[in-house]
Amino acid sequence: MNTSSTNKKNTENKSFYRYALILFMVLIIGISATIFWYYDYYIMDHVEFMSSVTITNATVGINTNTSSLQFGKIPLEGVGTRYFKISSKRRALVRIIPTGNITPFIDFSENDFILDPGVVKTINATLSVPQNATIGNYSGIIKVYFYRK
């Protein structure tokens, strides 16, 4: 009688662990799928391009390369301006994030703005060199994120 009762308990325990394991796996799949789906849903697109500048004493270097955002050579206290146009097929929140050691010098005419579909917006990227900047090369990557809105 005792042996039968113990066996029944063991079987019940095994079933419980099986169900718990299955529930755990379903939970993992659910969480992974949600993260995966939501990530693609939230960030609609993102574009990256290189940017660089050489800070000089008395040389102005013009670079009109269109595959990246090059500011050429800018003397101390000088200001360089480049332009880029962006558009989106869907309504998006646009966020521009510069990275690298060029970041302290660079600014954008607009950032964190809503871009309606079909609208072409021109963004001025301004690079200002302070008087106390160190002569040399600076570079980074400009990341433009388009969030679904």
């Binding site: 993992i28 693609d40 670079n63």
Partner: protein, 204 residues
């Protein structure tokens, strides 16, 4: 035994599905692009225009005044970036013009304008001029202009084209911009202090 196998298969499926979810990216989703470009949803185009502003005080003549006893130079101080400091007291001679280079990989049309005229920059009766020459021979396939000192242009919409075709080969891609100012004695009766003007160079 059968139940064990089912459970094992289910576990394998769940584990594989989880790993797939973590590492797999939806191929229909927009892709990350390496350069300024367009993808299915968005377009980004970098404009082929570049503008650089620099302060004229980066031409460091230092601090000085007009020589009030120099009748030879008509009580006028003349400074330029070719070493001239006539009729002046204490200003430093500057022999280094500003160099304008083409750092890109296409020929450029280069134009310049100033944010201040001579009167705005220094005062009534003064002059503020520039001239442009080849820094490396053959850099500009046409003759750079103005080749002799001429008053600065303050028109943004009608900037002075100094070279319509500036090359990009490293050994032939630069111009020199010389600046010249004259300061009459009368200006010295005004308030002392720093004078500033900004010149903008536009390439496209």
């Amino acid at each position: 035994m059968f139940q064990k196998n089912i459970l094992f298969l289910l576990m394998m499926f769940c584990a594989l599905a989880s790993l797939t979810m973590i590492f797999y990216r939806n191929p229909s989703a927009p892709t990350i692009t390496g350069m300024a470009t367009s993808s299915g949803n968005v377009t980004l185009t970098v404009n082929s225009t570049s503008a650089i502003q620099f302060a004229v005080n980066s031409v460091n003549w230092g601090t000085g005044s007009v020589n009030a006893s120099d009748v030879t130079h008509n009580y006028t101080c003349t400074l330029d970036t070719e070493g001239t400091t006539t009729g002046c007291i204490n200003f430093t001679a500057v022999t280094q013009p500003l160099i304008i280079e083409n750092n890109g990989n296409t020929n450029l049309s280069v134009s310049i304008y100033s944010n201040a005229s001579a009167t705005d920059f220094i005062g009534s009766g003064s002059t503020f001029q520039w001239k442009v020459l080849q820094n490396e021979s053959g850099s500009c396939t046409t003759t750079p202009s103005p080749a002799t000192y001429s008053p600065v242009n303050v028109s943004v919409s009608n900037a002075t084209i100094i070279c319509s075709n500036l090359g990009y080969t490293d050994s032939n891609d630069s111009l020199k911009l010389n600046l010249k100012v004259t300061i009459p004695l009368a200006v010295m009766s005004g308030p002392a202090g720093d004078r500033s003007a900004t010149i903008t160079v536009v390439g496209n």
